[in-house]
């Protein structure tokens, strides 16, 4: 209580005397904040400790660049897993982003409030479904649908692209990407809604007053204002897609190969760790899996840094209106 009243009495730049409760308070918060970093550091240290021997055995560059994963011969190449992780996440983003942003725009800009509350509920419900349920749904509903008719249809119409060639197996990058898209849709949508709601009404009204259509108002005033936030929302969705394990394992086909076609089976970093860790034979195999975890960590960090840069760049955008 006293601490709260203190600033009222003292002018902003004055407090030179020591304020014990404040010090304790800020020290405690600092400690809690550091704890997060410490936990992250311990995770990295432990992964390096377990994975180190396997990485040295293979060589850092070879580990990342080789595409053969042969446990019985202690040959460890992580490229197929990195490739599969990135491809499935990319497919998920491509599919989920337009839907999420469109949905968010519809709910904030067009829909009457009653519709908004009705539609928002199932979206948040989607976020609460356990990933193993998504996986089972993918395996028993989505995959048969992809095998026939979706993939043959794609091959017929877009088959000139290498992405849509090869036998329609069902299990593969496409199936994993679609399941991931559905899983990250609620994340991106709900954050995008929050962001769009912060857009000042005056911006919209200004654009409309100048004779803009609804679409033009959204395009020139709402979207630029919300761009940074939408990029942030996308990155959160991407984070979930990169790390998703269970659902992906069940539909990706678990084959450590690199193929251009989205129809082919692949593998992802979290999936191989989940699959092989329980029965990993020998320290080298366990180590190689820990090294994959380290790699997943690295991929996540790199993408997060990229996201930060992207957000910063979009903030500097010319149409940004100072808040």
């Amino acid at each position: 209580m006293t601490a709260a009243r203190e600033p009222e009495r003292a002018p902003e730049s004055a407090p030179a005397r020591v304020n014990v409760p404040d010090r304790v308070w800020s020290g405690g918060l600092l400690l809690l904040g550091l704890a997060v970093l410490v936990v992250a550091a311990i995770i990295v240290a432990e992964l390096v400790h377990i994975g180190g021997p396997a990485i040295l055995h293979t060589g850092v560059v070879a580990f990342v660049r080789n595409s053969v994963w042969d446990v019985t011969r202690d040959v460890f190449g992580a490229l197929p897993f990195i490739y599969g992780t990135l491809v499935t996440s990319a497919v998920a983003l491509v599919l989920a982003l337009p839907v999420s942003v469109g949905l968010a725009l519809f709910l904030t800009e067009m829909a009457p409030p009653s519709v908004r509350s009705i539609v928002s509920f199932p979206i948040s419900l989607l976020a609460g479904i356990p990933s193993v349920v998504y996986g089972l749904w993918g395996l028993f509903v989505l995959v048969p649908l992809l095998r026939r008719p979706v993939e043959p249809l794609l091959a017929k119409t877009l088959g000139f692209l290498p992405l849509f060639q090869g036998p329609p197996i069902g299990l593969g990058y496409l199936a994993a990407g679609i399941v991931l898209a559905i899983m990250i849709l609620p994340t991106i949508t709900s954050i995008a809604i929050e962001v769009l709601q912060t857009v000042p009404g005056t911006l919209r009204e200004g654009a409309l007053a100048l004779g803009a259509t609804r679409w033009e108002a959204i395009r020139v005033s709402v979207l630029p204002y919300a761009r940074a936030g939408i990029v942030g929302a996308t990155m959160l969705g991407l984070g979930r897609a990169l790390g998703e394990t269970m659902a992906v394992t069940m539909v990706i086909g678990n084959s450590p190969t690199i193929r251009a076609s989205l129809f082919s089976p692949g593998y992802s970093l979290p999936a191989v760790i989940a699959n092989e860790f329980a029965e990993a034979s020998g320290d080298l195999h366990t180590g190689a899996l820990a090294a994959l975890a380290l790699l997943l960590f690295a991929v996540t960090v790199v993408l997060n840094i990229a996201a930060r840069l992207l957000v910063r760049m979009s903030r500097r955008g010319p149409t940004r209106v100072a808040a």
């Binding site: 019985t72 048969p144 095998r147 299990l171 084959s255 089976p265 092989e276 860790f277 029965e279 195999h285």
Partner: protein
Amino acid sequence: MKTLLVISGLALGLAGAAFANNLLINGAGATFPFPIYSKWFSEYNKLHPDVQINYQSIGSGGGIKQIIERTVDFGASDAPMTEEELKKAPGVVHIPTVMGAVVVVYNLPGVGSLRLSPETLANVFLGKVQNWSDAAIAKDNPGAKLPDSAIAVVHRSDGSGTTAVFTDYLAKVSPEWKSGPGAGKSVNWPVGLGGKGNEGVTGTVKQTEGGIGYVELAYANQNKLLMVDLKNHDGQWVKASLDSVSAAAAKAEIPADYRVSITDAPGKEAYPISAFTYLLVYKDQADPAKGQALIHFLWWAIHDGQKMASALDYAPLPGPLVKKVEATLQSITVQGKAVLANRK
């Protein structure tokens, strides 16, 4: 939530009080024998209310790790321990408990029975035979109407004893498999899709016309899957059954430490992809009470316990082998003293 905590706390407290004077033996390991083991532990507890056995089915690898670190009283594994692992845990004895088998399942509408010779089977999983109408398959199945459709190979994606047994068999019958993918819990599969667990493989095979995969016999029996007949070491076509699996251990040469693969075993009736599952115990037990109880339990398991095996789709150990295991159990000591020396 709170009430739940209180209730479970009470339950734990009560359980703790009830078993306060009882012996708790801890074990961990293989998931494959978990159904029979949990049956054994509960039946044995009915006979000996003072002995409680707690088992965590965390996988064979975990079982071996834990017995090496002595964090459990016994381990369990589908694959015998390697030399390297045994060096870390000198004095560990393998006790075969029951037998299992790996069966090849397929999905070909209109084809009710199918035979595959060892070479053809290996070539299918090597990706060299890619169509069901291939001459090699036709040769094994004279008169059968085989469709002109692609073979979709399905294998386990998770590291597993099932894969270890299956690839061990392929490596024995096919030099090309041996020098190629080799044998192990996870191998570098030349072709195919990976399914997680028996259910993952089954699900994928069932969904994919032309699919072929491998699962545990118990799992295939319980889910009524179509199984491929295989040609055994003696050149006979055999169906996978509990009898043909037990037969595989009858004629196989089994060393004193039981660390042997009995895939492709001799014997007219022997099913070629059979395997033991083991309990792992130290030859000299450190804890007198636990050691005694554990040895008596093992004795019970290889005698009375065997009768419960077939109901749960495990093949019991053949008689001569039980005699051998008896001798092994008699050699286990508690702080240097024999326990079962005079037991018959």
